[in-house]
């Protein structure tokens, strides 16, 4: 049988049952579409998260409360331990270039009787060296603000807009946890970046925020050191804090500490692991829908073989060999899944573009890119499904006894 004959004959057969062929393809279309969608959005999320971590700067060490567990991850159950005195201690070393102690609090502020959601960040002047966002109006917190526990605040642009509208907020008063603060500056627009939105932040001196919330402990300390190798900085900070907290841990076992240290590299490693697991999980779910589509194809092919029994008998009576019948049915199945796969890929790309466009309106850093992995996976898996799931019905067709087939009404 010529290949042209095979193609034409299969197309004619599929054309005779257009509606059914379309429905058969639908299973594969949805399967491939979901694979592409999941992989595209998953990959975009991964890029977004990694981009966000990159924004922290590769030379910043994060000091957080609680020991590291034996698994290498920070424990979720811990006693707070970091205090402003730790900041002072770290600042006393000559290698400490920037030390910023922070208290982060999800809360509301009240300004002119209007309540606005905000992230209250108790921080220090060094904050400006850790972010790329400049001050748009007024000024940022100063060292003396921190020393004197001044009740002054710098507003993120969205908070300023929500609380004061078009009015100039500088010099006005806001209340944080019922404590009045005077606005001294407004930040420029930063753009949201996932779990932290700087435009909804209110920066106050870390000391004043400890007072306002009646707290003793910091949420975290961000530190930059003068060492070339960040590991050296991590080690020095650990030794300094152990000394300050009176922890006897000469071997440097992180599970014995009451704090944990994290670098950008650590975060990327964790994020990659997490997003990787997520991708595998979501892909498996998408793969199940592909499998269901494949079983649908097999089911319909069996029905088709039964329905076309007479035709198969006729073809055999006209000289078709078993191989001719087998290849025709196999080709029909593969053609349906291949075409379904291509449609699924196109729709998947369109859907993920729409999805990512919508997400990027709410979060910065989301960029659309066609998932090459998804396209290759979709094409190969859908064709393979056609051949694998088409094989058994096609074989049944090929082995049909021509007389039985012709007799069938």
């Amino acid at each position: 049988m010529h290949i042209q004959d095979l193609v034409r004959s299969s197309l004619q057969s599929l054309g005779r049952t257009k509606g059914r062929s379309a429905l058969t393809m639908l299973g594969i279309i949805i399967g491939v579409l979901s694979v592409i969608l999941v992989l595209s959005i998953g990959e975009a999320a991964q890029r977004q998260i990694l981009g966000q971590i990159a924004a922290f700067g590769s030379d910043v060490v994060f000091v957080r409360n609680g020991p590291t567990e034996s698994t290498g991850q920070p424990t979720p159950f811990f006693k707070e331990s970091l205090t402003f005195r730790d900041v002072r201690k770290l600042e006393s070393y000559p290698w400490a270039t920037i030390i910023v102690g922070k208290v982060v609090q999800q809360d509301e502020i009240v300004a002119q009787g209007i309540t606005t959601k905000a992230q209250i960040i108790g921080t220090m002047p060094g904050e400006l060296y850790l972010t790329t966002t400049p001050v748009a109006a007024g000024s940022f917190l100063t060292l003396s603000d921190v020393e004197s526990r001044s009740r002054v605040a710098v507003l993120g642009t969205d908070v300023a807009r929500a609380a004061f509208g078009s009015e100039d907020p500088i010099g006005k008063t806001i209340k944080v946890n019922s404590v009045p603060f005077r606005v001294i500056g407004v930040m420029a627009r930063a753009g949201s970046s996932g779990f932290f939105n700087p435009d909804r932040a209110v920066y106050v001196p870390v000391t004043s925020s400890l007072d306002a919330y009646n707290k003793k402990y910091l949420t975290l300390i961000q530190a930059k050191t003068s060492f070339q190798d960040i590991r050296e900085g991590v080690n020095r900070i650990a030794v300094a804090l152990r000394d300050k907290h009176g922890i006897d841990n000469p071997s440097g076992d992180p599970t014995k500490d009451d704090f944990n240290l994290l670098t950008q590299e650590d975060m990327i490693k964790t994020a990659s692991t997490v997003t990787g697991i997520l991708q595998i999980l979501l892909s498996s779910i998408a793969a199940i829908s592909l499998l269901v589509g494949g079983i649908g194809i097999m089911n319909i092919m069996y029905v088709t073989v039964t329905e076309r029994t007479r035709e198969i008998g006729l073809r055999k009576s006209l000289g078709a060999k078993q191989g001719d019948i087998l290849s025709q049915f196999l080709f029909e199945a593969a053609l349906q899944t291949l075409v379904g796969g291509i449609i699924g890929i196109v729709l998947g790309i369109i859907f993920s573009w729409i999805g990512i466009s919508i997400i990027s309106k709410y979060q910065a850093g989301w960029e659309f890119a066609v998932s090459i992995r998804g396209v290759l996976l979709g094409l190969s898996v859908s064709t393979a499904i056609g051949i694998v799931f088409g094989f058994f019905p096609a074989r049944r067709a090929a082995y049909l006894n021509p007389i039985e087939a012709l007799r069938r009404e």
Binding site: M1, E311, R315, L318, G319, A320, Q322, D324, L406
Partner: protein, 242 residues
């Protein structure tokens, strides 16, 4: 004239779940090239099974079958498929055309399984369609045709690979008498003008009388093998040929 078909002591048994059903018991006969014979018998007599074996659609259990002096019993499945494609044409009671497919495509169907070049196929198909008087219907879909026209398309399809033998299994069974006469007329012309061997399977005496010779089958045996005395000629006038 040489024998195109020669069958010696042909036996056929169907084995189904250890139940053996004998169908043909020692059938021996031969058909000469260019002969028009009818195989007649009531249903269950084994006439269809005999035709299927002669047409390479089924295999015999014991005995010998020579087609054009070639021993058919030694052929495998693929060789039998080739024999079907190259040497015989089938016409069925139910026409067996592909639905929603044009007359042209239906007639071209056997060429899928041939080595005839793609460029020559349309020409061959049109010739075959013209020869059954359906030249004006080439691009009609098979379901737009009347029963008689459908059977003529089936005849064109059977002819396209220029087979030596045509098997017609109750070809008029689903037709009104006028269309039936038309179909029998075409078969007779193929026999008389082109010298094709025709093997007609029927249970109607009237239809069988269009053949030169009738093989009566009963209970899997040849009951009688007689020439037709007053052969009917289907030329629309229904005269008797002496």
């Amino acid at each position: 004239m040489t024998d195109i078909i020669k069958v010696v002591d042909l036996n056929k048994k169907y084995v189904n779940d250890e139940v053996v059903t004998p169908v043909l018991h020692g059938v021996t006969f031969s058909v000469k090239k260019g002969e028009f014979i009818a195989i007649m018998g009531p249903s269950g007599s084994g006439k269809s099974t005999l035709m299927h074996i002669l047409g390479f659609l089924d295999t015999l259990t014991t005995g010998k079958y020579f087609f054009d002096e070639r021993d058919v019993t030694t052929l495998d499945d693929d060789e039998l498929a080739r024999m079907r494609g190259e040497n015989v044409g089938f016409i069925f009671q139910a026409f067996n055309l592909l639905p929603r497919t044009t007359v042209l495509e239906n007639v071209k169907l056997p060429l899928l399984y041939s080595n005839i070049p793609l460029g020559e196929r349309d020409k061959l198909a049109r010739q075959a369609i013209d020869s059954v008087g359906l030249g004006h219907r080439v691009n009609n879909l098979s379901n737009q045709l009347s029963g008689g026209e459908r059977q003529r398309v089936a005849i064109a399809r059977a002819l396209i690979r220029n087979p030596a033998v045509i098997f017609a299994d109750e070809p008029t069974g689903n037709l009104d008498s006028k269309s039936g006469v038309q179909v029998m007329g075409i078969l007779q012309r193929l026999n008389l003008e082109q010298g094709r061997t025709i093997i007609l399977v029927t249970h109607e005496t009237y239809t069988s009388e269009h053949a030169e010779r009738i093989l009566h089958i009963r209970d899997g045996l040849i009951h009688a093998d007689v020439p037709v005395k007053n052969r009917r000629i289907a030329d629309g006038k229904e005269e008797l040929l002496k």
